[in-house]
Amino acid sequence: MEMVAFYPGCAAKGASKELYESTVAVSEELGIPLVELPQFSCCGAGVLEEVKDILDIVVNARNLALAEREGFKTIVTVCSTCLLVLKRTKYHLDNDDDLKEKVNNLLEKEGLEYKGEVDVKHFHWFLLDEFGEDELRRRVKKPLQSLKVYPYYGCHTVRPYEILGYEPSENPQSLERLIRAVGAQPVSGERRLECCGFHAFWPNPNGSMILTGLNLKDAKLCGADCIVTPCPLCHMNLDANQGRALKEVGESFSIPVLHVPQLLGLALGIEPKRLGLHRNIVPVNC
């Protein structure tokens, strides 16, 4: 398999270390050659756009150009917001020649050029594209039979479709496909595409916690045994802030929340410790 540039994003290097660990473990198991570039910077989580829009573009054009400089065709990330920010940068540069020229003039001074040859994918899209459900199913050693999983997409792997373009934003199925591939059963929830409020956590913590609480409540109502999400930021709200969020909506249960590679890793028979499951705030019994 061709080498891919691994863009973990800041959360996976810190507050969601278990996402980094599980991604590396699953990639080793499946033989995915991930190469993390030490030059990659934080994408700015869309926040840099609020400092100045060209700053957001330049910082991320640099990330894209670094991958191109090292000859990569694909950047794989495990963070939904990093995905959207990188893909949006690519979208703007690929559709606006003036902007591309302006940005390349700056990059040139640092020995970089954005050509537009590198693609950006979320890890779970990459798994589905490279292996497909059938191949993943064949690799499963411990099918997660009878496990009911709530596929919580959140926002930035599905919207806006115009920029992400992987699957219809109104009816994505990638998580359901993965859940079925590991032998588990996806439950259908009304709030699987709703926001967790993470990006307004600082200005409006209560609002953010209400949204997270409602999402957790929906998963419970659907009879889910656990939630799986492709986004470490959603994960932080759903897992680390679970108690606070449920309190905000007058509930007090607990439901484990897994990162995509944690769920897949369990089915591949990887040791829970290598998947960082001991780091999840809500205990995961496996």
Binding site: S41, A45, R62, C195, A200, W202, G207, L211, A240, R279
Partner: protein, 321 residues
Amino acid sequence: MERREVTFRIKRFNPKKDVRPYYQEYKLTVPRGMTILEALQFIKDEIDPTLAFRAFCRSAICGSCAIKVNGFPKLACKTQVFTELDKFKTSLLTLEPLDNMEVIRDLIVDWDGAFERMKELKPYLIPDPKVVPDTLDEETRVYPEELKKYDKFTDCILCTSCYSICTATQIDEGYGGPFQLARLYRFAVDKRDGLKEERAKIGYAYDMWNCVRCEKCADVCPKHVGPVDAIMRLRGISIDIGLKDNPGARHVLAFYKSLMESGLLNEVLLPLRAKGIKGVLENLPVGIKMILKGKAHSPIMKPISEHESLIKLMKAAMEVE
């Protein structure tokens, strides 16, 4: 021509007669190319004249026919039945009135609240006497590069699709609303406007920092306006004019600082930087749990490779006109 049997499950409600809304099903043979609006008109003409919906231009210009199709706001005139059937792999389409607004009858909602909110935000040009001549003898020239700043935000047709699905509107009554804030931004960067950047203060007063960046408004807009982009820029303007001492602005500046320091986000210092001691105390219980689980990095972060190059680029970007 291909035809399909389709069931339209339509939410009905006449507040003068009905205790609560109910769903009514209509079965139709739909030819390829038929729009949702044409289907609604067929039902009204041939099956049930009591069905109420709003429609006018039939050309995706007037914005009056926005309804929910299988849960998502759409202009009925611009949306083909087959496209939706294929997307949801179904032969049943559920049509409902837009959310976040009162239902007048069936698929018709009351826009007044949304438009009143827009009016409060002063979405009209307040001419700058230094730029706009006071007689009509002269013109005020706006050059293409100036227009580019706000051109796409003038495309809004007030269909309220974004407002109906807006997450921040659902949880914050004081929130300005997506299309409303986008209009505000549109004037904030218009050189003919007398208030210009000062308009960001209106956005601030109407909780623009509470936008959760769920991107729904960008996704559902039939005219590709993307109100969220305007809101992000309006926030930027508010920082530029000195509205820096609030959690939203401080969160933004914390990111900038982190990137200049190491190239990566310093998550450990984020609560302090975004919200001061209050931020630390509020998040202390969760923070301690995370530290005990080994989910925190050192507050002093090792810079990324070629960090100097990133700093140079960031500085250069800040200089760009």
